[in-house]
């Protein structure tokens, strides 16, 4: 996967979603996600902690997940071998806060994540909340089977029906196409029609 991601990045792809529904819902379009993405990162979550943060009268749990980067497309974030992603919500002691639909990370999880930069945030966030984060699924031999959109924050992931597994080739093609569309000034996620000769 390492080489695959890097080759994908070298081709100017950046890995993004095929915007599958996880709750039968309309989602951010791929173009919207990409237009706000400052880095696409493939890696493994190697560290994570949650903490209370109090500011301006607010008292909120934030979670910081460190992703060891296997491959990435850094466009607006300084390249680094480790990226710390900040998400709203988390568990401290026996108290849990959940920002409904925020992305969630687990230690050891292999992910592809689209990161953006929020004003006032020292660390990047996931663009489009859970819609900007994908888990990577491999077979027993280590070959990547595909990617699956995040289920969002929850304590008991087993309760959620898994999102469809998206073949990697399709995933990459969607990114290529959308990148091309964005480059041409087309921010809608349209699929080009092909002339039949």
């Amino acid at each position: 996967m390492r080489s695959l991601i890097r080759s994908g990045v070298a081709l100017g792809l950046g890995l993004v979603l095929a915007l599958q529904a996880s709750a039968g819902t309309r989602q951010f379009t791929l173009g919207e996600i990409l237009s706000e993405t400052k880095a696409v990162v493939h890696g493994v979550v190697v560290d994570q902690f949650s903490q209370w943060e109090e500011y301006d009268g607010h008292k909120i749990v934030f979670t910081y997940s460190t992703v060891r980067v296997h491959g990435a497309d850094f466009r607006g974030i300084s390249p680094s071998r480790h990226v710390v992603v900040r998400t709203v919500g988390g568990k401290v002691g026996d108290y849990q806060q959940v920002l409904v639909d925020e992305a969630s990370f687990r230690l050891g999880e292999e992910v592809i994540v689209f990161l953006g930069v929020e004003d006032g945030w020292l660390h990047p966030s996931v663009v489009g909340f859970r819609q900007g984060k994908y888990g990577v699924t491999r077979d027993d031999s280590g070959r990547i089977l595909g990617v699956r959109q995040d289920a969002g924050q929850q304590l008991e992931p087993s309760l959620a029906a898994p999102a469809p597994l998206i073949p990697l080739a399709r995933f990459l093609e969607d990114v290529r196409r959308t990148r091309r569309n964005l480059a041409e000034g087309d921010t809608s996620d349209v699929h080009p029609l092909v002339p039949v000769r």
């Binding site: 095929a18 599958q20 529904a21 996880s22 709750a23 039968g24 819902t25 309309r26 989602q27 951010f28 379009t29 919207e32 706000e36 301006d56 009268g57 607010h58 008292k59 909120i60 709203v88 919500g89 568990k91 026996d94 108290y95 849990q96 806060q97 959940v98 920002l99 409904v100 639909d101 925020e102 929020e118 004003d119 006032g120 945030w121 966030s125 489009g128 909340f129 969002g152 924050q153 929850q154 304590l155 008991e156 309760l159 959620a160 029906a161 469809p164 569309n181 041409e184 000034g185 087309d186 921010t187 809608s188 996620d189 349209v190 699929h191 080009p192 029609l193 092909v194 002339p195 039949v196």
Partner: protein
């Protein structure tokens, strides 16, 4: 770029209900305000305080404060329980303070590119309350924050242009605060997204959801099992700029009216000059997919657009009388 926004909510866990015929879902893990079942503690009515400054962009006397209060209380009309009370506050604190506050202009800087968000808090070791066979944990704190990037309005104000119905958004977020996740039924208020200038209200699916949480012995009320897919709509437009001289939009729905994601759609365009174009792509999470006729490929000025195939689960019933008109005639720009 056309702004597309999402109301945030939890992934559905309708499976835990054993009632998958519904589109509604619960916050995961299931949480609610306790109502004193079997002599247990009661949190009802839950008090929600709306920031008295209101949302500046709402062009009425109290900048939407009353609309938000009414929106929260709309849920109470759906259940027999005395679910909620509302008031106002000067506070806009978000987080763990035991006070449920509705605030505007994203005071905690957590809304990002959503319309509004709901932050819920609970003790993981707290007691449970069982309703309709579902074991719920107990909410401790819920706060709702509206975007600082968007403008809002109400149906009564009218003349909507690019603004979001603050009442619909508030009712939706309050649904999360009462324990509902996102619904798979697009017409439901708890569907995860809403377009600007759309004035949705609580629907049958939402009613079933809230009663599943707060009405012991609730027996349901409808639902639908998807058995076939249909062509929901077929339309075209001619963008005034950009690489496409025509954009064809297709939606695929099931017989319950829900968008079918991942459906493979093939369209064919036959031009008045004899050229033919085709495209195949998959629908997104809403069951929608768009195709663009690039100006460089447009040899004709008028095209007959036909959906020639849909591969989906449930399978497409091309002969269904409820299919959208197919084909249609479109013009390039």
């Amino acid at each position: 770029m056309k702004k597309q926004l999402v109301l945030l909510g939890a992934l559905g866990v309708a499976s835990v209900l054993g009632t998958s015929i519904f589109g509604f879902a619960l916050i995961s893990p299931a949480r609610k305000w306790f109502q004193g079942i079997s002599g247990g503690p009661s949190d009802l009515p839950v008090m929600f305080l709306v920031n008295s400054a209101g949302e500046e962009s709402v062009n009425n006397a109290d900048h939407g404060v009353t609309a938000c209060r009414n929106a929260i209380e709309e849920w109470e009309n759906e259940v027999s329980a005395n679910l909620a009370s509302t008031g106002t506050t000067s506070s806009s604190a978000v987080g763990n303070d035991g006070v449920n506050i509705v605030s505007f202009n994203d005071p905690a800087n957590i809304v990002r590119n959503a319309i509004a968000v709901t932050l819920v808090g609970f003790y993981t070791s707290s007691q449970t309350e069982v309703v309709n066979g579902i074991s719920f944990g107990r909410y401790q704190d819920t706060d709702i924050s509206f975007s600082k990037r968007l403008t809002f309005t109400t149906q009564a104000i009218g003349n909507c242009s690019g603004s979001y119905d603050i009442e619909a958004v508030q009712t939706h977020e309050a649904g999360h605060a009462f324990g509902l996740g996102h619904s798979g039924v697009s017409s439901a208020l708890m569907a995860p997204s809403v377009a600007a200038c759309t004035f949705k209200r609580i629907a049958a699916d939402d009613h079933a959801g809230i009663n599943t949480i707060y009405t012991p012995g609730f027996g349901g009320g409808g639902g639908c099992t998807a058995t076939e897919s249909r062509l929901g709509s077929l339309s075209c437009s001619a963008p005034s700029s950009g690489p496409n001289c025509m954009v064809v939009s297709v939606t695929v729905v099931d017989n319950c009216g829900n968008g079918v994601s991942g459906a493979g759609v093939t369209v064919q365009l036959s031009g008045n000059n004899g050229d033919v174009l085709t495209g195949t792509a998959s629908t997104n999470g809403s069951g929608a997919v768009s195709f663009g006729l690039r100006c460089r490929d447009a040899a004709s000025t008028t095209y007959t657009v036909t959906v020639t195939g849909i591969s989906s689960s449930p399978a497409w019933d091309s002969n269904d009388a409820n299919n959208a008109p197919n084909p249609i005639v479109c013009n390039t720009r």
